[in-house]
Symmetry: C2
Subunit: 185 residues, 2 copies
Amino acid sequence: MAERARRGAPLTLEEIATTAVRLMDEAGVEGLSMRKLASELDVNPMSLYHHVENKEALLKLICATAAERMRVPPDDGSPWQEQLRELALAYHRNAKEHPALWGYLHTHPEVISHRGLPLWSALYRILRLAGVPEPEVRRTGDILHAFVSGFILAEINGHMPDDPEEIERNYDTAVHLIINGLAGF
Amino acid sequence: MAERARRGAPLTLEEIATTAVRLMDEAGVEGLSMRKLASELDVNPMSLYHHVENKEALLKLICATAAERMRVPPDDGSPWQEQLRELALAYHRNAKEHPALWGYLHTHPEVISHRGLPLWSALYRILRLAGVPEPEVRRTGDILHAFVSGFILAEINGHMPDDPEEIERNYDTAVHLIINGLAGF
DNA sequence: GCGTCAGCCATACGGTGTATGGCTACTCGA
DNA sequence: TCGAGTAGCCATACACCGTATGGCTGACGC
């Protein structure tokens, strides 16, 4: 009774979060349960609740850290079309690394709506570079993000061809569409 | 024992589906459970399984019928820009009528990928009208649909302003973006 | 020595989807 | 008319879920 079930170091939030991400990567959002997570950590399910308020908060946490850690290409002085393309590519790559996580994130957008995220500042910078008038920057950014979300969700959920070459073409078409659309303003 | 719990007419698939939709409208995807649905129909939970294979099949069913019943504006001979706008508007309106349902649908796109749907034939027609070369029609259609999905999901999930006027502006910007993007090809 | 508290855990509650099997009431062929 | 078969429904049970409650242990400050 007095024994901790778990041998070794005490539980940490960090450890909880990374195992949760692993479980999601392996088995999707539905593959992550507090009980499985606990058993994976060799710990009683209720122990998790000393580090995390509840499951939703845990999901929010790992989504937020994923969003914060997203690598955004720096301003290299190239034309906005190129930079927008690179940003979209980076976003895409990021999402494909943890599909389930980004799938959840895109259906709970409040997680990513925090405007301090590198994603947003990069996007806004590029939109300004493209000549989008200041009062329209945020709206336009939201819409572009929604578009890319849709594209990525469709891909994650299998509503896209399997052939990687075909996907590449889809991606090119999509980015072209967006760039042309922006250029037309 | 011999008594049916439920008085009156026997259960029908139709009835099951419509109450399921109602429950989803009222309380979201998570508000729909086989047990609640059964109790709403004054029936034992297991009775549902004589009409539906399982919950997923039920969801698929109601999504599919919603997609089939979607009202698509007819070809009125107006320019493709106008028609595309109208189609997007119709889609938007449809989705807002049953937000939870369309939220689910957009995260399970296999449901809507059936190419016989009015949505797809209308979209393809308009794309051809816009001069999209035949081998690109389907790809372009998929991408546009993904974009609109993203926009609508963002709206459904609250990642858009509340002010209806602002939403309208967002919508206009989005459609403009798409139309400009297409026109640039 | 004593109180406080962080960390962990056992138990329990109410919810979920659904497998299994049994009961009725009907239809249909002989 | 009489079985056989079957469609429809239901009772029970299982395995799983998130988490409220409350209790234990061991470290720390006084």
